[in-house]
């Protein structure tokens, strides 16, 4: 599967946006054909000047089975989706849900405060808020004239 990277352009126009969109659609078509894997869960990502916000789709995981690590502007979410029905494999008439470990690493547009990261797991969606590190914010410098 082609793995899309985040684009770091902050200037609004992304010349590859159309291409990336096509890539996502092609990936989705193949994912639906081959069954949905867990190794590369889907994400949505928002940001503003002070905060980044991330959503990851991963139903049926115990919240203790997630691991979220933050280093400057790099976020890694790993975990394992366990199958509680392993004893019943032989009587399964249909098995479309995938299990196993998953991992995704994302580069945020700026460094964040690891201690203030807030993560919630709601209805099978992991939602994480990352406050921007104070030192990474741009500051206005007064210009003096003589």
């Amino acid at each position: 599967m082609i793995r899309p990277m985040w684009n770091r352009w902050d200037w609004g126009f992304d010349p590859f946006a159309e291409l990336r969109q096509l890539e996502r659609h092609v990936n989705r078509v193949f994912r639906d054909v081959h069954g949905r894997g867990t190794d590369y869960p889907s994400m949505n990502f928002w940001s503003n000047e002070n905060e980044a916000y991330l959503e990851m789709e991963m139903p049926g995981v115990d919240q203790n089975d997630f691991e979220l690590t933050v280093a400057d502007d790099i976020v890694t979410i790993t975990g394992t989706r366990k199958d509680p029905y392993t004893a019943e494999q032989d009587t399964a008439h249909r098995q479309e849900r995938a299990f196993g470990s998953f991992s995704r690493t994302v580069q945020l547009p700026y460094a964040v405060e690891p201690d203030q990261v807030n993560a919630r797991y709601e209805h099978g969606v992991l939602r994480v808020k990352f406050p921007r590190r104070e030192s990474s914010k741009s500051k206005r410098i007064a210009i003096q004239a003589n």
């Binding site: 969109q21 659609h25 049926g60 399964a92 098995q95």
Partner: protein, 127 residues
């Protein structure tokens, strides 16, 4: 392809969400049948089960959770409506249906009717 691109590009209105099939596992036990469906983003309040004439329909809408005050950078999934229809065989007791929603996974349990359950038949020795 262009068609799909314009459809998903648009933020869908809550009323006409695209309908998708949830991934399902189906297990059979001695006394019951278990349906497990992945419906991430669907709460226990917005999930819906209907049984009508030997047909079970499970459905649920993802509540849109667009955070305010942010600019979207990247989107790989959007709100959808999950919907799947199962036809129930007559050996299942539709009145016995039980459903649990947890962490975006719907688990439906249907008991088999008394007749369909496996029975142990005592074998007597011929004298």
């Amino acid at each position: 392809m262009n068609d799909i691109a314009t459809q998903t590009n648009r933020q869908p209105a809550q009323a006409d969400l695209p309908v998708v099939l949830p991934a399902v596992n189906l297990y059979e036990r001695d006394h019951e049948v278990v349906i497990v469906a992945d419906m991430p983003g669907v709460s226990d309040k917005s999930v819906d089960l209907t049984v009508e004439q030997q047909t079970l329909t499970i459905s649920g809408k993802v509540e849109a959770t667009e955070p305010a005050g942010y600019e979207l950078r990247y989107r790989e999934f959007a709100p959808v409506e999950y919907r799947r229809v199962f036809s129930l065989t007559s050996d299942l007791d539709a009145d016995s249906i039980k459903a649990v929603m947890k962490h975006g996974v719907l688990t439906v349990t249907l008991a088999k009717s008394e007749k369909a359950r496996p029975r142990k038949i005592a074998v007597s020795t011929a004298t």
